[in-house]
């Protein structure tokens, strides 16, 4: 689950990580109020208006603007709220902006030049340990840094049984070239950040940039936070932050029905049991000249109700020209799945207007094929994987 920037920052702050302060607003009037309040609380004279969507690169699409007066806050917020923001990470039509974060200006002049750094916390899958990845090259796309100047990216792996140690936080601060008050601030920043990561069961923290202000404070100017869905059961407060408007509506519906579904751009829908087989089925669709319209794992119980729900979800996508059902029956018997497909088909009446290819293999596959073939329905049966692919090719031709 992803958080908005403002939610991520509040989470960090609750663990003692210093952040660029801000107040979220969902219309331009509230934005002006937020700016006034922020000026009182922080003394900021300027503000940054930041579109809150689940995608990076917002500045590039015009979703982050500096406002030097309350009048500017009003016009900028009015322009941004409701816009379709297109960034390098969104689709071509972009994402609708429902709210903006009015944030204090932290790049104020002072004794030193402000400096930007990069920092993330994530799992190193190769070792099974969490690591802090950081760089002196803040404020830029980290993939670009990795490509052009990989020697400027450092990592620090943390022992899961003892957690982050003081020497590790010091090392990070020194590697970033800090000294004096900023060094102390960074040590606290890093330690709190790692604690927040572990305690909130996050799977990614990306703070880009981390800022050293002109008066040597270290703070998070942005936040990208991804939480582990499997751990949300023990973080009810964080689970409540989920913003369904940011997610694909069909995926939300599918998940609510207990189906593991990912929406894709192709023309052949598929319904499969098991994630690996589902991915393989998508691959086979492609090799048959089609493009997968979705990933859908129906899980172990492919009964009539579940099959019907899955059909309805797949058919919400108008691009779907055919549906391939691929079930390897193990514990779940193929004849029961076949009956499920037949019942679902009959229940749905005329709702199904595309050819359906059903491939059932494993327990009672022969009986299942007979059931399908004798049903009188417009369902094409297959038993071998390649045979199913060939039939997809035929119906697309």
């Amino acid at each position: 689950m992803n958080l908005h920037e403002y939610q991520g920052k509040e989470l960090l702050n609750s663990f003692g990580v210093r952040i660029q302060r801000g107040i979220v607003a969902d219309n331009h009037k509230k934005a002006v109020e937020a700016a006034k309040q922020l000026a009182t609380e922080t003394g900021t004279g300027w503000w940054v208006v930041k579109a809150q969507i689940h995608a990076g690169g917002r500045g590039k699409g015009g979703g982050v603007k500096l406002a030097k007066s309350l009048a500017e806050i009003e016009t900028i917020s009015e322009n941004i709220i409701g816009m379709m923001l297109v960034t390098p990470q969104t689709s071509a039509e972009g994402k609708k902006v429902n709210q903006v974060l009015i944030a204090e200006d932290v790049y104020y002049p002072g004794d030193n030049e402000p400096e930007e750094y990069y920092m993330s916390v994530l799992l190193n899958r190769a070792t099974g340990k969490n690591m802090i990845m950081y760089s002196t090259e803040g404020g830029m796309d980290i993939e670009t840094v990795a490509e052009n100047t990989p020697h400027l990216i450092f990592t620090e792996e943390i022992d899961p049984l003892i957690g982050i140690q003081a020497f590790q936080a010091r090392k990070i601060a020194f590697n970033l070239g800090l000294s004096g008050a900023a060094l102390k601030e960074m040590i606290k920043f890093v330690t709190s950040l790692y604690t927040a990561y572990v305690e909130s069961d996050a799977s990614l923290f990306e703070i880009n940039p981390v800022l050293k202000t002109s008066d040597d404070k270290i703070l998070a100017v942005d936040s990208k936070v991804t939480l582990d869905d499997n751990a949300l059961y023990r973080h009810k407060d964080l689970a409540a932050l989920r913003d369904l408007r940011e997610e694909n509506a069909i995926e939300v519906e599918a998940n609510a029905a207990g189906l593991n579904y990912v929406d894709l751009d192709g023309n052949v829908g598929c319904m499969v049991n098991g994630a690996g087989l589902a991915m393989s089925t998508m691959d086979l669709i492609k090799q048959s000249g089609g493009e997968p319209a979705n990933f859908l794992d129906v899980g172990g119980t492919a009964d009539a109700k579940r099959v019907e729900t899955a059909f309805r979800i797949i058919l919400k996508d108008d691009n779907v020209k055919a549906i391939l059902v691929n079930i390897f029956g193990g514990i779940v018997r193929c004849d029961r799945v076949a009956q499920g497909v037949i019942d679902a088909y009959r229940n749905m009446g005329d709702a199904i207007k595309v050819p359906i290819i059903v491939r059932l293999q494993g327990t009672n596959a022969v009986e299942a094929k007979q059931l399908i073939d004798n049903s009188g329905l417009d369902v094409i049966s297959a038993t071998e994987f390649q045979e199913a692919a060939d039939k997809v090719q035929e119906v697309l031709a």
Binding site: R125, A231, G274, A275, S280, F328, G330, Q386
Partner: protein, 290 residues
Amino acid sequence: MSVLVNKNSNIIVQGFTGGEGTFHASQMIAYGTNVVGGVTPGKGGQTHLDKPVFNTVQEAVDKVAADTSIIFVPPAFAADAIMEAAAAGIKVIICITEGIPVGDMVKVKAYIENKDCRLVGPNCPGVITPGEAKVGIMPGFIFKKGNVGIVSKSGTLTYEAADQVVKQGYGITTAIGIGGDPIIGTTTKEAVELLMNDDETECIVMIGEIGGQLEAEAARWVKANGNKKPVVGFIAGQTAPKGRTMGHAGAIVGGADDTAQAKMKILSENGIHVVDSPAKIGAKVAEILK
């Protein structure tokens, strides 16, 4: 020979009396697997499926000499169950549970690092040595005895591969479902190594998917060890978009190096017989063993 589990394994079921545990334990027993008991805290002293129930894994080790455990404990408690098994001296721990928080598995991995045990999974279908022991949730009848070893991140794709191999007239030594989570106990390379050192295994089927570096690591190891046995490789997810989790928590393309295409290239470069279609796994095995 076979690897990990055989007819002499003394197997206990953790989460024995729950719905999943009961169902799959009865299937395992019906297959002929040597299930010696189970563990459900608070139900020690009872009998379930004609087998003794213990409160702790240690008790099962002491009383019925358990050396292998299969775990059906719900995700919130599964990490604890794995560590309990490791602490009690269980040698092979097979965790079926899907949905364990990654943070829990980070701790588990560190905890069992210096223990004398091997964890398989979590989020896996288990391990089967046909004709001897089914320690998992796979449909046993598909797996006929033979000389092909299978290593796979996916459940149904393992069944698919085994079915294709059997239909070509061959059979399986041991099939190891290593699991689809970001952190798993036995890596692809470790599972391949077990089969490479198994006298009966003449060919290995290695099924991977997008995300992580496990298949690449295994392929490099196979080559460094002189490609002693033929390995057939398949990587699922050639059409998966970047940055989306495809069912398995670990199946997500992060960068350019963990796509299916990148992995297939590395496998080929290291002498693995890569098939581009999941429908060709059995045929490729037959072509090699002919």
